[in-house]
Symmetry: D2
Subunit: 144 residues, 4 copies
Amino acid sequence: MNWEYSRRVKYYETDRMGVVHHSNYLRIIEDARMEWLRDNFMSYSELEKMGVIIPTASASGKFISYLRFDDLFKVTIKLVQFKGVKMQFEYDIINSENGQICYKGESSHFFAVDGSYKPYLSFRNKFPELYKKMCSLCKRDSGI
Amino acid sequence: MNWEYSRRVKYYETDRMGVVHHSNYLRIIEDARMEWLRDNFMSYSELEKMGVIIPTASASGKFISYLRFDDLFKVTIKLVQFKGVKMQFEYDIINSENGQICYKGESSHFFAVDGSYKPYLSFRNKFPELYKKMCSLCKRDSGI
Amino acid sequence: MNWEYSRRVKYYETDRMGVVHHSNYLRIIEDARMEWLRDNFMSYSELEKMGVIIPTASASGKFISYLRFDDLFKVTIKLVQFKGVKMQFEYDIINSENGQICYKGESSHFFAVDGSYKPYLSFRNKFPELYKKMCSLCKRDSGI
Amino acid sequence: MNWEYSRRVKYYETDRMGVVHHSNYLRIIEDARMEWLRDNFMSYSELEKMGVIIPTASASGKFISYLRFDDLFKVTIKLVQFKGVKMQFEYDIINSENGQICYKGESSHFFAVDGSYKPYLSFRNKFPELYKKMCSLCKRDSGI
């Protein structure tokens, strides 16, 4: 797996401790997930145009080391589970300059109908090609 | 005019300079404006239910002094102009502990139809009571 | 346990799904934790003045239901573990209008020396009164 | 002048109106300014290491049109004034897909000593090369 998202820490992402505020890690992994979807699956804005959204069901992570303003970092992301409409991603955020792992986390999401925030039970039938694509991405990433 | 909005600076509103990030002053005056609307006019969420929104057309301000984490501050707000669908507010953000002015700014807004972001030209005819109320608030605040 | 933090959802906390962006739940529980510290222990800004900070080591949560702009919500918080310098909190975010649980989460933190982000190993010896207070809060909240 | 900053709108930069929250325009022009400094002058993190910071003294802008999630935009930036320690920038934020101007704004800043937030009166004497470079950038951008 070589897909990576990379950018620098922005000034407004830091807090008075001088490091990235921990809530911003959820934004950074969202950035990574959005670009992963664009490159591997379909852009999220295109999904929205089809009436599909992907709310976040859960998120957890460990804040292992710190990122400071202007640090270059990369995010690795893996789709480790996809069942029906539910998917789970794993992330590492790594300081590109010293290789240090700053954050290890995961998040789970589901395909939903725009406006309802309920699992899109007929997703597989309505969008068989997207369903197959997601299955194969999961196989590729998780090796299952 | 004694109406004021007051709260403390939140941790995530600070940046690595140790002070409130300047972009957050626009959020703080929005907080103040929303509460001013609730107390003096109508809550913004009720307006939205009527299909009316109030986009921001412009904003400007001077960052005079700094607010740090946990500082108690107050915001004064005045409706200095209301014409048709356009309104202009002026704000002072003041450190409650030492009386220092931290920010002086203004913002202009307009009543719009939800979804269009265009001035709601028939606002006065559709909502005559709201129109009158806004006029009298402007008179009260601006003395005109 | 009746201590609660309560406020309304701010406009800028919502995203284009029309609900609070999930990253903001970490900010909301931080708000609650800061006020809990002030009311039960010592304000975080006073701790900082003593050279002590409390970085976040981990956070996890389930996004069960949605909060929309202007919704009144409350956060319950319990200190469920305190060992040496490490502490763990549990949170529920509840829509005050309908009683619905919107978020269930936990976060772990540690006392650190300002600037080092390492566990403050001599915390108990340097601040015996604070240590005892934290122990008794944990006992009160967790029943252990 | 062809220097431009460009990226897409992030999900968490939108609000429930479905467009970029107006406070985020100040963050976007900060992103652009930081990259402009890196490419034309010196990276802000290097300046910080020399004990120099650049607080924002004022900012104003007009919100002319809207940016939505995933829209590709560009920011043009010009250093229109530099006197002693004070500098002023002008910005246009333009939707790259349709060429529409979304925001026109300006911000003023000053070189300060880290920790003091006061104009760095001896900046010219302490850093003559940086001073000269800034003058020539201003000449290039403003034509004066």
